[in-house]
Point group: C2
Chain length 203, copies 2
DNA sequence: GTCTATAAGGTGATAGAC
DNA sequence: GTCTATCACCTTATAGAC
Protein backbone atom coordinates (compact mmCIF):
# COMPACT_ATOMS: atom_id res chain seq x y z
CA UNK A 1 0.00 0.00 0.00
CA UNK A 2 2.89 2.32 0.66
CA UNK A 3 5.50 2.26 -2.05
CA UNK A 4 4.04 1.23 -5.34
CA UNK A 5 7.40 2.18 -6.79
CA UNK A 6 8.26 -1.48 -6.86
CA UNK A 7 11.78 -2.45 -6.29
CA UNK A 8 11.16 -6.11 -6.06
CA UNK A 9 8.48 -8.02 -4.26
CA UNK A 10 10.94 -9.75 -1.97
CA UNK A 11 12.09 -6.49 -0.41
CA UNK A 12 8.60 -5.05 -0.32
CA UNK A 13 7.52 -7.98 1.79
CA UNK A 14 10.31 -7.48 4.28
CA UNK A 15 9.55 -3.79 4.59
CA UNK A 16 5.87 -4.50 5.11
CA UNK A 17 6.64 -7.29 7.58
CA UNK A 18 8.85 -4.97 9.59
CA UNK A 19 6.10 -2.42 9.87
CA UNK A 20 3.46 -4.92 10.91
CA UNK A 21 5.51 -7.16 13.21
CA UNK A 22 7.19 -4.27 15.02
CA UNK A 23 3.83 -2.58 15.45
CA UNK A 24 1.69 -5.56 16.42
CA UNK A 25 4.18 -8.15 17.65
CA UNK A 26 4.34 -11.76 16.52
CA UNK A 27 1.01 -12.74 18.09
CA UNK A 28 -0.86 -9.65 16.98
CA UNK A 29 0.46 -9.59 13.42
CA UNK A 30 -1.63 -11.03 10.58
CA UNK A 31 -0.26 -12.36 7.31
CA UNK A 32 -3.17 -10.70 5.52
CA UNK A 33 -2.15 -7.36 6.99
CA UNK A 34 1.45 -7.80 5.84
CA UNK A 35 0.24 -8.72 2.35
CA UNK A 36 -1.94 -5.61 2.25
CA UNK A 37 0.96 -3.43 3.36
CA UNK A 38 3.17 -4.93 0.67
CA UNK A 39 0.42 -4.51 -1.91
CA UNK A 40 0.48 -8.18 -2.86
CA UNK A 41 -1.43 -11.35 -2.29
CA UNK A 42 -1.23 -13.38 0.87
CA UNK A 43 -0.06 -16.48 -0.96
CA UNK A 44 3.04 -14.67 -2.16
CA UNK A 45 4.25 -14.30 1.39
CA UNK A 46 4.46 -18.05 1.67
CA UNK A 47 5.96 -18.35 -1.79
CA UNK A 48 8.88 -16.15 -0.72
CA UNK A 49 9.24 -16.92 2.97
CA UNK A 50 7.46 -20.22 3.61
CA UNK A 51 5.96 -19.38 7.01
CA UNK A 52 5.03 -16.57 9.35
CA UNK A 53 7.69 -17.75 11.76
CA UNK A 54 10.48 -17.54 9.18
CA UNK A 55 9.38 -14.08 8.16
CA UNK A 56 9.25 -13.01 11.78
CA UNK A 57 12.74 -14.34 12.46
CA UNK A 58 14.17 -12.21 9.69
CA UNK A 59 12.44 -9.11 11.00
CA UNK A 60 13.44 -9.84 14.57
CA UNK A 61 17.10 -10.35 13.72
CA UNK A 62 17.26 -7.14 11.73
CA UNK A 63 15.52 -5.22 14.50
CA UNK A 64 17.83 -6.63 17.13
CA UNK A 65 20.89 -5.49 15.24
CA UNK A 66 19.44 -2.00 15.06
CA UNK A 67 18.70 -2.15 18.78
CA UNK A 68 22.09 -3.39 19.95
CA UNK A 69 24.29 -0.36 20.55
CA UNK A 70 27.45 -0.27 18.48
CA UNK A 71 29.84 0.02 21.38
CA UNK A 72 33.09 -0.56 19.56
CA UNK A 73 32.44 2.24 17.14
CA UNK A 74 32.33 4.78 19.95
CA UNK A 75 34.55 3.35 22.65
CA UNK A 76 37.53 2.26 20.59
CA UNK A 77 38.17 5.74 19.30
CA UNK A 78 40.65 8.15 20.77
CA UNK A 79 39.53 10.60 23.41
CA UNK A 80 38.73 10.80 27.07
CA UNK A 81 36.09 8.60 28.65
CA UNK A 82 33.57 11.35 29.28
CA UNK A 83 33.68 12.40 25.63
CA UNK A 84 33.11 8.84 24.53
CA UNK A 85 30.22 8.56 26.94
CA UNK A 86 28.62 11.74 25.61
CA UNK A 87 29.20 10.50 22.11
CA UNK A 88 27.64 7.14 22.84
CA UNK A 89 24.48 8.58 24.38
CA UNK A 90 24.04 10.97 21.49
CA UNK A 91 24.69 8.37 18.80
CA UNK A 92 22.54 5.70 20.39
CA UNK A 93 19.63 8.06 20.99
CA UNK A 94 19.81 9.10 17.37
CA UNK A 95 19.52 5.46 16.35
CA UNK A 96 16.56 4.89 18.64
CA UNK A 97 14.94 8.10 17.45
CA UNK A 98 14.93 6.72 13.92
CA UNK A 99 13.50 3.40 15.16
CA UNK A 100 11.36 4.37 18.12
CA UNK A 101 9.25 1.22 18.16
CA UNK A 102 12.08 -1.27 18.05
CA UNK A 103 13.01 -1.28 21.74
CA UNK A 104 9.48 -2.13 22.82
CA UNK A 105 9.22 -4.77 20.12
CA UNK A 106 12.49 -6.46 21.07
CA UNK A 107 11.86 -6.34 24.80
CA UNK A 108 8.42 -7.86 24.34
CA UNK A 109 9.38 -10.61 21.92
CA UNK A 110 12.44 -11.61 23.86
CA UNK A 111 10.51 -12.64 26.94
CA UNK A 112 10.71 -16.40 27.47
CA UNK A 113 12.90 -16.87 24.43
CA UNK A 114 16.38 -17.04 25.95
CA UNK A 115 17.52 -19.53 23.31
CA UNK A 116 16.85 -17.22 20.42
CA UNK A 117 18.44 -14.40 22.39
CA UNK A 118 21.59 -16.30 23.22
CA UNK A 119 22.02 -17.34 19.62
CA UNK A 120 21.63 -13.77 18.44
CA UNK A 121 23.96 -12.33 21.04
CA UNK A 122 26.58 -14.90 20.18
CA UNK A 123 26.31 -14.00 16.51
CA UNK A 124 26.78 -10.30 17.11
CA UNK A 125 29.99 -8.94 18.50
CA UNK A 126 28.83 -6.52 21.14
CA UNK A 127 32.20 -6.10 22.81
CA UNK A 128 30.98 -4.98 26.16
CA UNK A 129 34.38 -6.01 27.50
CA UNK A 130 35.96 -3.05 25.77
CA UNK A 131 33.73 -0.74 27.74
CA UNK A 132 34.14 -2.59 31.02
CA UNK A 133 37.90 -2.43 30.71
CA UNK A 134 37.81 1.30 30.05
CA UNK A 135 35.61 1.92 33.07
CA UNK A 136 38.02 -0.07 35.24
CA UNK A 137 40.92 1.92 33.89
CA UNK A 138 39.17 5.19 34.68
CA UNK A 139 38.61 4.04 38.23
CA UNK A 140 42.19 2.88 38.72
CA UNK A 141 43.50 6.11 37.24
CA UNK A 142 41.40 7.97 39.79
CA UNK A 143 39.40 9.82 37.17
CA UNK A 144 35.98 8.50 38.25
CA UNK A 145 34.57 7.20 41.49
CA UNK A 146 34.70 3.48 42.18
CA UNK A 147 31.66 1.77 40.65
CA UNK A 148 30.79 -1.68 39.39
CA UNK A 149 31.30 -1.32 35.62
CA UNK A 150 28.31 -3.51 34.80
CA UNK A 151 26.06 -1.49 37.08
CA UNK A 152 27.23 1.68 35.39
CA UNK A 153 26.40 0.16 32.01
CA UNK A 154 22.95 -0.79 33.26
CA UNK A 155 22.47 2.79 34.43
CA UNK A 156 23.46 4.09 31.01
CA UNK A 157 21.24 1.89 28.89
CA UNK A 158 18.33 2.30 31.31
CA UNK A 159 18.48 6.07 31.01
CA UNK A 160 18.70 5.83 27.22
CA UNK A 161 16.15 3.15 26.39
CA UNK A 162 13.43 3.28 29.00
CA UNK A 163 11.99 6.72 28.24
CA UNK A 164 11.51 5.69 24.63
CA UNK A 165 9.70 2.49 25.54
CA UNK A 166 7.61 4.27 28.14
CA UNK A 167 6.89 7.33 26.04
CA UNK A 168 3.10 6.86 25.93
CA UNK A 169 3.05 6.46 29.68
CA UNK A 170 5.30 9.46 30.31
CA UNK A 171 3.15 11.53 27.98
CA UNK A 172 0.03 10.65 29.94
CA UNK A 173 1.34 10.68 33.50
CA UNK A 174 4.13 13.23 33.55
CA UNK A 175 3.01 15.57 30.78
CA UNK A 176 -0.77 15.34 31.18
CA UNK A 177 -1.25 14.05 27.59
CA UNK A 178 0.81 16.91 26.10
CA UNK A 179 2.73 14.80 23.62
CA UNK A 180 4.66 17.73 22.17
CA UNK A 181 6.01 18.58 25.60
CA UNK A 182 7.00 14.96 26.13
CA UNK A 183 8.64 14.78 22.73
CA UNK A 184 10.60 17.91 23.50
CA UNK A 185 11.69 16.62 26.89
CA UNK A 186 12.90 13.32 25.45
CA UNK A 187 14.92 15.20 22.88
CA UNK A 188 16.65 17.26 25.54
CA UNK A 189 17.82 14.05 27.13
CA UNK A 190 20.41 13.58 24.40
CA UNK A 191 22.62 15.92 26.40
CA UNK A 192 21.04 15.61 29.83
CA UNK A 193 21.68 11.90 30.26
CA UNK A 194 25.43 12.17 29.84
CA UNK A 195 25.51 15.19 32.16
CA UNK A 196 23.59 13.30 34.78
CA UNK A 197 25.88 10.28 34.61
CA UNK A 198 29.11 12.26 34.57
CA UNK A 199 27.96 14.37 37.52
CA UNK A 200 27.46 11.17 39.45
CA UNK A 201 30.75 9.43 38.73
CA UNK A 202 33.25 12.27 38.38
CA UNK A 203 35.61 12.95 41.24
CA UNK B 1 -22.69 -15.85 51.26
CA UNK B 2 -21.24 -18.15 53.88
CA UNK B 3 -19.24 -20.36 51.60
CA UNK B 4 -15.87 -18.71 51.72
CA UNK B 5 -14.07 -21.79 50.56
CA UNK B 6 -10.68 -21.42 49.00
CA UNK B 7 -12.33 -22.50 45.78
CA UNK B 8 -14.17 -19.38 44.76
CA UNK B 9 -14.56 -19.71 40.99
CA UNK B 10 -14.86 -16.02 40.34
CA UNK B 11 -11.59 -15.26 42.07
CA UNK B 12 -9.89 -18.32 40.63
CA UNK B 13 -10.63 -17.04 37.17
CA UNK B 14 -9.10 -13.64 37.89
CA UNK B 15 -6.00 -15.21 39.36
CA UNK B 16 -5.65 -17.51 36.37
CA UNK B 17 -6.32 -14.67 33.95
CA UNK B 18 -3.62 -12.58 35.58
CA UNK B 19 -1.10 -15.34 35.19
CA UNK B 20 -1.91 -15.99 31.53
CA UNK B 21 -2.47 -12.42 30.32
CA UNK B 22 0.61 -11.03 32.06
CA UNK B 23 2.68 -13.89 30.71
CA UNK B 24 1.37 -14.05 27.14
CA UNK B 25 -0.19 -10.65 26.56
CA UNK B 26 -3.67 -10.01 25.19
CA UNK B 27 -2.92 -11.38 21.72
CA UNK B 28 -0.99 -14.39 22.91
CA UNK B 29 -3.41 -15.41 25.66
CA UNK B 30 -5.98 -18.16 25.05
CA UNK B 31 -9.26 -18.51 26.89
CA UNK B 32 -8.68 -22.27 26.99
CA UNK B 33 -5.38 -21.71 28.76
CA UNK B 34 -7.01 -19.46 31.35
CA UNK B 35 -9.73 -22.04 31.92
CA UNK B 36 -7.10 -24.75 32.39
CA UNK B 37 -5.19 -22.60 34.87
CA UNK B 38 -8.38 -21.95 36.82
CA UNK B 39 -9.28 -25.63 36.70
CA UNK B 40 -12.65 -24.96 35.16
CA UNK B 41 -14.42 -25.12 31.84
CA UNK B 42 -13.96 -22.56 29.12
CA UNK B 43 -17.65 -21.69 29.04
CA UNK B 44 -17.52 -20.56 32.64
CA UNK B 45 -15.17 -17.75 31.74
CA UNK B 46 -17.88 -16.26 29.59
CA UNK B 47 -20.52 -16.95 32.17
CA UNK B 48 -18.64 -14.82 34.69
CA UNK B 49 -16.93 -12.24 32.52
CA UNK B 50 -18.74 -12.16 29.16
CA UNK B 51 -15.73 -11.72 26.89
CA UNK B 52 -11.98 -12.02 26.68
CA UNK B 53 -11.73 -8.25 26.39
CA UNK B 54 -13.66 -7.61 29.61
CA UNK B 55 -11.52 -10.12 31.46
CA UNK B 56 -8.40 -8.52 30.08
CA UNK B 57 -9.51 -5.05 31.13
CA UNK B 58 -9.87 -6.16 34.72
CA UNK B 59 -6.43 -7.75 34.72
CA UNK B 60 -4.88 -4.74 33.03
CA UNK B 61 -6.35 -2.27 35.47
CA UNK B 62 -5.21 -4.28 38.47
CA UNK B 63 -1.74 -4.67 37.00
CA UNK B 64 -1.49 -0.97 36.26
CA UNK B 65 -2.29 -0.08 39.84
CA UNK B 66 0.46 -2.39 41.02
CA UNK B 67 2.80 -0.82 38.51
CA UNK B 68 2.10 2.82 39.31
CA UNK B 69 4.44 3.87 42.10
CA UNK B 70 2.74 5.07 45.25
CA UNK B 71 4.43 8.44 45.38
CA UNK B 72 2.33 10.06 48.08
CA UNK B 73 3.03 7.29 50.53
CA UNK B 74 6.75 8.00 50.42
CA UNK B 75 7.03 11.67 49.59
CA UNK B 76 4.45 13.12 51.94
CA UNK B 77 6.18 11.77 55.01
CA UNK B 78 8.56 13.73 57.18
CA UNK B 79 12.24 13.59 56.46
CA UNK B 80 14.87 14.97 54.14
CA UNK B 81 14.59 14.55 50.39
CA UNK B 82 17.44 12.09 50.02
CA UNK B 83 15.93 9.79 52.60
CA UNK B 84 12.63 9.88 50.79
CA UNK B 85 14.37 9.12 47.54
CA UNK B 86 16.18 6.13 49.02
CA UNK B 87 12.93 5.01 50.55
CA UNK B 88 11.09 5.31 47.27
CA UNK B 89 13.62 3.30 45.28
CA UNK B 90 13.70 0.57 47.89
CA UNK B 91 9.93 0.40 48.24
CA UNK B 92 9.23 0.50 44.52
CA UNK B 93 11.84 -2.13 43.70
CA UNK B 94 10.31 -4.37 46.33
CA UNK B 95 6.93 -3.99 44.63
CA UNK B 96 8.41 -4.78 41.23
CA UNK B 97 10.33 -7.72 42.65
CA UNK B 98 7.06 -9.27 43.74
CA UNK B 99 5.53 -8.59 40.29
CA UNK B 100 8.48 -8.85 37.93
CA UNK B 101 6.44 -9.45 34.78
CA UNK B 102 4.04 -6.55 35.21
CA UNK B 103 6.23 -3.75 33.82
CA UNK B 104 6.82 -5.56 30.54
CA UNK B 105 3.14 -6.45 30.32
CA UNK B 106 1.96 -2.89 30.91
CA UNK B 107 4.51 -1.31 28.60
CA UNK B 108 3.59 -3.70 25.82
CA UNK B 109 -0.17 -3.47 26.15
CA UNK B 110 -0.19 0.29 26.48
CA UNK B 111 1.29 0.89 23.05
CA UNK B 112 -1.25 2.53 20.78
CA UNK B 113 -3.86 2.64 23.49
CA UNK B 114 -3.57 6.20 24.79
CA UNK B 115 -7.30 6.38 25.47
CA UNK B 116 -7.28 3.50 27.92
CA UNK B 117 -4.15 4.93 29.47
CA UNK B 118 -5.56 8.39 29.93
CA UNK B 119 -8.69 7.02 31.52
CA UNK B 120 -6.65 4.93 33.93
CA UNK B 121 -4.28 7.72 34.83
CA UNK B 122 -7.20 10.04 35.47
CA UNK B 123 -8.76 7.47 37.76
CA UNK B 124 -5.64 7.01 39.85
CA UNK B 125 -4.22 9.81 41.90
CA UNK B 126 -0.53 9.63 41.16
CA UNK B 127 0.33 12.99 42.66
CA UNK B 128 3.47 13.60 40.75
CA UNK B 129 3.02 17.26 41.61
CA UNK B 130 3.93 16.55 45.21
CA UNK B 131 7.28 15.21 44.07
CA UNK B 132 7.88 17.97 41.54
CA UNK B 133 7.23 20.60 44.17
CA UNK B 134 9.65 18.98 46.57
CA UNK B 135 12.37 18.82 43.95
CA UNK B 136 11.87 22.49 43.19
CA UNK B 137 12.08 23.30 46.87
CA UNK B 138 15.31 21.39 47.19
CA UNK B 139 16.79 23.34 44.30
CA UNK B 140 15.66 26.70 45.67
CA UNK B 141 16.98 25.84 49.10
CA UNK B 142 20.34 25.09 47.48
CA UNK B 143 20.38 21.51 48.64
CA UNK B 144 20.58 19.93 45.17
CA UNK B 145 21.87 21.10 41.82
CA UNK B 146 19.44 22.78 39.43
CA UNK B 147 17.66 20.14 37.35
CA UNK B 148 14.37 19.86 35.52
CA UNK B 149 12.18 18.00 38.03
CA UNK B 150 10.46 15.97 35.32
CA UNK B 151 13.77 14.91 33.84
CA UNK B 152 14.92 13.82 37.28
CA UNK B 153 11.76 11.78 37.68
CA UNK B 154 12.35 10.16 34.30
CA UNK B 155 15.89 9.32 35.42
CA UNK B 156 14.58 7.72 38.58
CA UNK B 157 11.90 5.54 37.05
CA UNK B 158 14.18 4.56 34.17
CA UNK B 159 16.84 3.30 36.55
CA UNK B 160 14.22 1.40 38.56
CA UNK B 161 12.06 -0.16 35.88
CA UNK B 162 14.21 -0.78 32.83
CA UNK B 163 16.57 -3.40 34.27
CA UNK B 164 13.58 -5.49 35.30
CA UNK B 165 11.99 -5.32 31.86
CA UNK B 166 15.31 -6.01 30.17
CA UNK B 167 16.44 -8.72 32.57
CA UNK B 168 16.58 -11.52 29.96
CA UNK B 169 18.64 -9.29 27.71
CA UNK B 170 20.98 -8.19 30.49
CA UNK B 171 21.42 -11.80 31.55
CA UNK B 172 22.45 -12.77 28.04
CA UNK B 173 24.51 -9.77 27.01
CA UNK B 174 26.06 -8.44 30.17
CA UNK B 175 26.27 -11.61 32.26
CA UNK B 176 26.93 -14.19 29.54
CA UNK B 177 23.75 -16.17 30.40
CA UNK B 178 24.67 -16.37 34.11
CA UNK B 179 21.20 -15.64 35.45
CA UNK B 180 22.22 -15.93 39.09
CA UNK B 181 24.82 -13.23 38.61
CA UNK B 182 22.25 -11.01 36.92
CA UNK B 183 19.73 -11.66 39.65
CA UNK B 184 22.30 -10.72 42.25
CA UNK B 185 23.28 -7.55 40.40
CA UNK B 186 19.68 -6.40 40.07
CA UNK B 187 19.19 -6.93 43.78
CA UNK B 188 22.16 -4.76 44.63
CA UNK B 189 20.55 -1.94 42.70
CA UNK B 190 18.07 -1.37 45.54
CA UNK B 191 20.77 0.70 47.20
CA UNK B 192 22.95 1.54 44.20
CA UNK B 193 20.30 3.45 42.28
CA UNK B 194 19.67 5.99 45.02
CA UNK B 195 23.41 6.39 45.57
CA UNK B 196 23.92 7.01 41.88
CA UNK B 197 21.18 9.63 41.72
CA UNK B 198 22.16 11.41 44.90
CA UNK B 199 25.80 11.54 43.81
CA UNK B 200 24.67 13.27 40.67
CA UNK B 201 22.40 15.92 42.14
CA UNK B 202 23.93 16.72 45.51
CA UNK B 203 25.92 19.91 45.88
C1' DG C 1 -23.16 -22.97 38.35
C1' DT C 2 -21.01 -26.10 35.58
C1' DC C 3 -20.68 -28.92 31.95
C1' DT C 4 -20.64 -30.74 26.63
C1' DA C 5 -21.39 -29.60 22.06
C1' DT C 6 -21.28 -26.55 18.50
C1' DA C 7 -21.78 -22.34 16.06
C1' DA C 8 -19.46 -18.58 13.51
C1' DG C 9 -15.71 -16.52 11.97
C1' DG C 10 -10.77 -16.08 11.55
C1' DT C 11 -5.85 -17.72 10.37
C1' DG C 12 -1.76 -19.89 8.39
C1' DA C 13 -0.72 -22.45 4.71
C1' DT C 14 -1.32 -25.00 0.12
C1' DA C 15 -3.04 -26.31 -4.70
C1' DG C 16 -3.40 -25.18 -9.13
C1' DA C 17 -4.68 -21.97 -13.02
C1' DC C 18 -2.43 -18.44 -15.72
C1' DG D 1 5.72 -14.93 -10.08
C1' DT D 2 1.28 -13.92 -9.04
C1' DC D 3 -3.25 -14.80 -8.52
C1' DT D 4 -7.97 -17.18 -6.78
C1' DA D 5 -9.94 -20.67 -4.27
C1' DT D 6 -9.81 -23.59 -0.61
C1' DC D 7 -8.30 -26.56 3.18
C1' DA D 8 -7.54 -27.69 7.94
C1' DC D 9 -7.30 -25.98 12.04
C1' DC D 10 -7.91 -22.73 15.85
C1' DT D 11 -10.44 -19.37 18.80
C1' DT D 12 -14.09 -16.82 20.84
C1' DA D 13 -18.49 -17.14 22.16
C1' DT D 14 -23.15 -19.22 22.78
C1' DA D 15 -26.91 -22.90 23.42
C1' DG D 16 -28.77 -26.05 26.11
C1' DA D 17 -28.61 -30.26 29.19
C1' DC D 18 -28.10 -31.27 34.08
Amino acid sequence: MTDKKDKNTEENIITAAERVFIDKGMDGARMQHIADEAGINKALLHYYYRSKQKLFNIVFTTAFKAFAPDLIKVFQREGDFFSKLRNFVKTYLDVLERNPHIPGFILHEIRHKPDQLIQLVGGLNLDIDVVIRQIEEEIQAGRIKPIDPKQLMIHIVSLCIFPIVAKPMLTAVLFKTDSDACEKALNERKDLIADFIINSIKL
